[in-house]
Symmetry: C2
Subunit: 167 residues, 2 copies
């Protein structure tokens, strides 16, 4: 039973790249709190206090710290968890599917991370779905593509270092 | 793997009743468009144009018509579909899990309908989860309990009529 993925060009932002890591490594980076803390926010921002309850209706929580002492807590709810393949979460809901209050950014997103094996690596497709074109435009102006790209660079560097034999 | 149900007394409205219908009949009434059209809004309001895509991420849509010509379209997204047992949907998301724009009521809900066999009938538990206590209070003042009760009365009358032999 296929899930309906958000596909509207008016309300979605999409990011796609082929990455030199197996899907399992990318999945682990997205779903292991100690790993998320190490790659999730492009430097000089950093992430701490990640918690993950990895099931539909389960919640996640992170704290993002800016270089000037900014501190943004972020919460959301997982919607689809297909290990190694598809992760969908939304900031429109809190754990237990509770509706979320308005966010500081002023808009909610539903994020879909889709992983497909390709050669020795993985096609990494990230989609951020918004309620309307204005929210999409605002997110784009905030630097969606550069931000998600820099975070993915950090994810790849981290997981390659993890895979390297020690000693 | 149990799903986390919203349980906060501060943000939830709950409605519970034992109903003289089997769980399957209540499930059918909630998930069949032609049936939803006949019970969903307490008279003198009526419902039309119900569409249902019954799977997590699938959408539903109804139009509610008031006695003075009011016309409210309502849309949402299913989150949990456990036939005969548990139905969870939210107005915070649209089909495909897309974040929903602000609603005319000014708040989103996540509704959980839980059906448990009890004797010859069913324990019917409905929960409406809100982002905050203010939204909960607003929904309560709009007549949540009387409204959901009257709708359930209509559901029961409809399904008893359906079960009655014809001729």
């Amino acid at each position: 039973m296929p899930l309906t993925a958000p596909t509207s060009a008016d309300t979605d932002l999409r990011f796609e790249r082929v990455v030199d890591l197996p899907p399992e490594a990318i999945w682990a980076a997205w779903t292991t709190p100690e790993l998320v803390n190490q790659w999730f926010t492009p430097a000089p921002w950093r992430t701490s206090d990640t918690t993950i309850d990895l099931r539909p209706g389960g919640g996640f929580h992170t704290v993002m710290h800016g270089p000037e002492g900014e501190r943004h807590a972020q919460a959301g709810c997982y919607l689809v968890v297909e290990p190694g393949r598809t992760l969908v979460w939304t900031s429109a809901l809190l754990p237990g599917f509770q509706p979320a209050p308005p966010t500081p950014e002023g808009f909610a997103i539903t994020a879909t991370i889709r992983l497909t094996p390709e050669g020795q690596g993985t096609r990494y497709e990230a989609t951020a779905s918004h309620a309307d074109a204005a929210s999409r435009a605002r997110h784009e102006a905030m630097g969606f593509e550069a931000g998600w790209g820099a975070a993915l660079d950090q994810l790849v560097a981290l997981m390659k270092a993890q895979a390297r034999p020690h000693g």
